[in-house]
Symmetry: C2
Subunit: 346 residues, 2 copies
């Protein structure tokens, strides 16, 4: 490692749920960090964070924060990215943006390394990290897409509250305690903190993640639909999504129906999934083994199980896909991209 090129890295949104995981992964993965700049809103500036053997003081993120930075990882919300990414690019940084700000921009590669790492070479200063629920789905479906082609995906999600941030976790745990104590749950954050109506998440299932669009789908659902087409680079791909928040802390689960373009052998399909990079097949009904959110927590892989041929369409299969939404769904996918950039620039 010592002869390796080392990078000046900035993490924007360093105190958020995803930012914390990015910092942890940079350390754990021994990313070749030279200078580490931790940036946040003015409110959190001054906080000290341990990174390996050094202590880093968090600074306020401003347009001037990116002088000398090689790689900037953004996860402080779309508005912050829209404002600061252009400055970081101007100062020569490659930005990896975990918000939705640039995802559908035709100039910006939208990258899941297991699916389309080749796209990073096309970047014009920013590479977008897809939405958490999209990442794990496309990673799991990629081997089937490559072998058989996919015509259609119908997905229903079971999404963890951590996807809505640390305050949503606190709210869910607080409400759970309230209900267990025989009190009414007091909703305050979910489903969407900026909208007026709040619903109880403890012991409930809320079929709304993000705001609604004109067509009756939510933005979260449209992200899954549009991002999947962009990442797979296939506008003909038909995708339907229903996104639901459930009382789970970490780990998004997905019930996915997939129509293939060819006949397939079920055992071959399972083998392809098992051998795909970043994917672990957990699929043994006889032993009651299938992916579970609690098992996926803290893991970098995407877990796939309940793989079975559809009974009415022999060219379709159903599966259950689970991954830690803060890791493969966010921080790990971003750090993975940073690792590829580091290898390219070595």
């Amino acid at each position: 490692m010592s002869n390796q090129k080392r990078f000046n890295v900035a993490v924007v949104g360093a105190t958020g749920a995803v930012g914390e995981q990015i910092i942890r992964l940079l350390a754990e993965r021994e990313f070749p960090v030279n200078e580490l700049k931790l940036l946040s809103s003015a409110r959190s500036a001054g906080t000290k964070i341990q990174f390996k053997d050094r202590e880093v003081t968090i600074e306020e993120a401003t347009p001037e924060s990116f002088k000398g930075i090689d790689i900037a990882l953004f996860s402080a919300g779309g508005d912050v990215s829209r404002k600061l990414v252009p400055h970081a690019i101007e100062d020569g940084a490659v930005c990896i943006d975990n918000t939705s700000a640039f995802r559908m921009d035709p100039e910006t590669p939208l990258v899941v390394p297991e699916v389309n790492i080749d796209k990073i070479s096309e970047h014009k200063g920013v590479i977008a990290n897809p939405n958490c629920s999209t990442i794990q789905m496309v990673a799991a479906l990629k081997p089937l897409y490559d072998r058989y082609g996919i015509s259609r995906i119908i997905v229903s999600t079971y999404q963890a509250v951590s996807g809505a941030g640390a305050k949503a976790i606190q709210e869910m745990l607080r409400q759970s305690k309230e209900v267990l104590d025989g009190r009414d749950a007091s909703p305050d954050i979910l489903p969407v903190s900026s909208l007026p109506v709040k619903h109880q998440i403890a012991f409930n299932a809320i079929p709304q993640i993000d705001k609604f669009t004109e067509n009756g789908f939510t933005y979260e659902e449209m992200k899954m639909i549009n991002e999947t087409k962009k990442i797979m680079d296939d506008e003909s791909l038909e995708v339907t999504a229903t996104c639901v928040r459930i009382p789970v802390v970490y780990g998004h689960s997905e019930s996915v129906y997939v129509e293939l373009k060819q006949d397939f052998d079920l055992e071959e399909a399972k083998s392809l999934i098992a051998e795909a990079p970043g994917i672990e097949l957990v699929d043994n009904p006889d032993e009651q083994q299938y992916p579970l959110a609690t098992d996926a927590t803290g893991k970098l892989e995407t877990f796939v199980g309940r793989v079975r041929r559809d009974l009415s369409n022999p060219r379709a299969l159903n599966m259950w896909i689970v991954s830690d939404n803060l890791l493969k769904g966010a921080a790990w996918n971003a750090v993975q991209i940073a690792e590829y950039i580091a290898i390219e620039q070595k």
Copy 2:
């Protein structure tokens, strides 16, 4: 009411989660009860239960329990039904069975009153109550089936722990407390009490309800598939189901994709749902209104929302269907059938 014919009613499984609701509904709905016989296993016999102004002592259910009984409601498990229903029929009772024992028997009507109440006249002593997750789905889809025809249904469920009985509720609440207290959750009952492997349900999503069949689907999923075809009386109907247990106490939620046989007008489809018997449309995205398990708890209706045209198939729509699994999904559907029998025999 006083001139009305009154019925000798037996409730088998009187101390179970569903049995309790049946007794409550018989009272609340002012069912014309003459004698009320409450039956259970030997273990619970002797317990006294208040029914309106009388106190009823629970007796052990035996083959001899049904002398003089007009209507017997069974919800004590498939084995009890298989053993005792024939005796009840022999003694002249009409049996309404809430277990899976007779559902797929070609001689036995499988009835959701909103869908196929006409079938009760064909009974040969027993009318089967469908599986909870099936009932709410077919009730909600019936108006669309009648108007447009349905070719295909793909459903993913979000099922409450009460569907697995009172012990599963206790387990989920206990585990929630364990996790909130920073301890490990101790799984004991779920996903299937009679199988060796147990999984944590608190803050998790378990993609297994009932045992697995040979084809990789669970029995719960096969129930949804087969019962839906039988109730709709349409073997050509294509149904795919993925059944998932989530940490909710009461109320099953379902994400349902439906392909219609004809073009449809979305507003007309919503109106048909809104006007259908037993269905309440809760569908106002602008006001963040959609069905929620917590709102459905204790209600007799099936709630439908998030109704939207599919983006890739203009003849398909997606929706979110919620109902109290112990009520419309079990006790209320059974008592509803009993009410129709009472009207017929009046």
